[in-house]
Amino acid sequence: MQYAINSLLRQKTKTIFIIIIFTILTFLLTSIFFITHSIKYELDTTANNLPQIIIQNQQAGRLTNIETTILDDILQIDGVSDAIGRVWGYYYFKQANVNFIVMGIDNFENQYKKSFTNISNKYDLSDNNSMIIGNGVKKILKKNYYTDYFNFITPGGTLKKVNIKGVFNSNIPLESNDIILTSKDVVREIFGIDEQYFTDIVVKIPNPKEVNTIATKIKQLYPNTKVITQEQLKVSYQEIFDYKSGIFLVLFIVALFTFFMIVYDKSSGLSSEEKREIGILKAIGWKVDDILKEKFYESFIISFFAYLVGVISALIYVYILQAPLLKNIFIGYSALNVDFILPFVLDTQSLFLVFFLSVPIYIAATIIPSWRTATIEADKVLR
């Protein structure tokens, strides 16, 4: 082992070069895995928290607000435990070029999400001039000097001042990051939604097996509506994710291709100095095993060290620095542009995959040509 370490130190420039290339490739591969895994985890959790059925109104093939009277009819359908009319929309904040989701919740109502129930229990929003904001919204507003309140511009051009009462911290950052929660009346005022309308209606069904049947019933009752089930939403989320992960796949393939080019180059032969060193070692009494053991240690030290540095750098890059540049490819799945924190999910499978794709392959690429040279007569190698 000591000989292997000394040998690597003797060839400092070459060793450092290999370690740098190896580290960059490991870092890239691991970062890609970490980012996709974190976002996939986040999307899965978000999708599982979606309402079982969402009913939207359509007019002339376009989505429009839905009448509040429909709510009572929905509640009459067998198997429906609750139906909640939602009032919400995207508010474009020009100064920061971002969209916030402004969602209305009334304290007296049942909420369709546990996180909203918690907010409703904790904060009283019935004063019609207060709001709870997500972390991403908070950061952006703070950058624009709105620390205590924010002035929304209504469709009529007037300002609606709403005080910031608290910060919304959900277990799912992707869901809560860009959201503003306030009373339904405030949302109606900001977006100009009439009291007789909701943006959409969410339906709770205790028995998941009945979801599709109830969705069909609603569609039959109101042919103009668009009825979306949780399963359909999951599929559309997955499609967006798959499209974005295609971009990552390209990066992944490029990184992998570069690595295998290096491995191929290495395995295709040793330099004349390397061959000569093996010849000398054989001539002075080293067995083939001794030489291969030494080469194993050398390649293991290089590849494992580079792997560790690559993985640690990827952990820092993804979870501490929040993957600048790469993250932007994924985030903003609702055309949003707010800060989103990648949740830390230890992806051991990916770590093993990157390990087995890099370390053993590099070791083999070092040992095989060394073995070829070491099994030739020393006299031939030295000539």
Binding site: Y3, N6, R276, E277, I280, A283, G285, W286, D289, K380
Partner: protein, 222 residues
Amino acid sequence: MIKLHNLTKIYELNKNNKVVALDNINLEFQQGELIILKGASGSGKSTILSLLAGLSKPTNGEVIIQDQRISKLPDDFLALFRRENIGFIFQKYNLIPTMSVWENIALPLIPTNPDETILKEKLSKVMQQFNISHKENSIVKNLSGGEQQRVAIARAMINNPNIIIADEPTANLDEKLSLHFIQILKQLKSSNKTIIVATHDPLFFDLDFVDKIINIHNGRVQ
């Protein structure tokens, strides 16, 4: 005793081009002898040394050293045999240029994982014997030819082998250093080592402590 029996070595350069380097050589050397193999370049001297050290295998015939048919030994046993019995001083020294003096000398011992104290003792002894202690930590590529040769001798001697083989040892040395090397040979012979030197340097031919001078010409003993 060392015996070369009907030894033939043919190098096959390609299908139609074969070079007979040694042609049916028969020689015997006794323990403690100093033998000079003389002959022009390409006469086959180095090939004999290479076969003696087991660095290559004969096309026909065999090399018997201390009753062991070394030309029939498998590669790994041959390496072990070489490590324990043979010290080879190469014409171009064959040192690893980026290593220090002591690292080069210690190389034959590395696979045996020697105890650090024993390793230091052995190193100190050979480095003193061949007057290279003061360059212990110098990088070999920065040494003079004479110093590099002493490192090569020290490396060949670190395992205290019975047989010392030297291939054109004075080819890269001036006369003063060549005479110094001859003194080292004398010193080694006095400790009953069998020494085989391949050379065409006339300095070796009139030495009173040489036991045999064998003339090799076109792969044959003359």
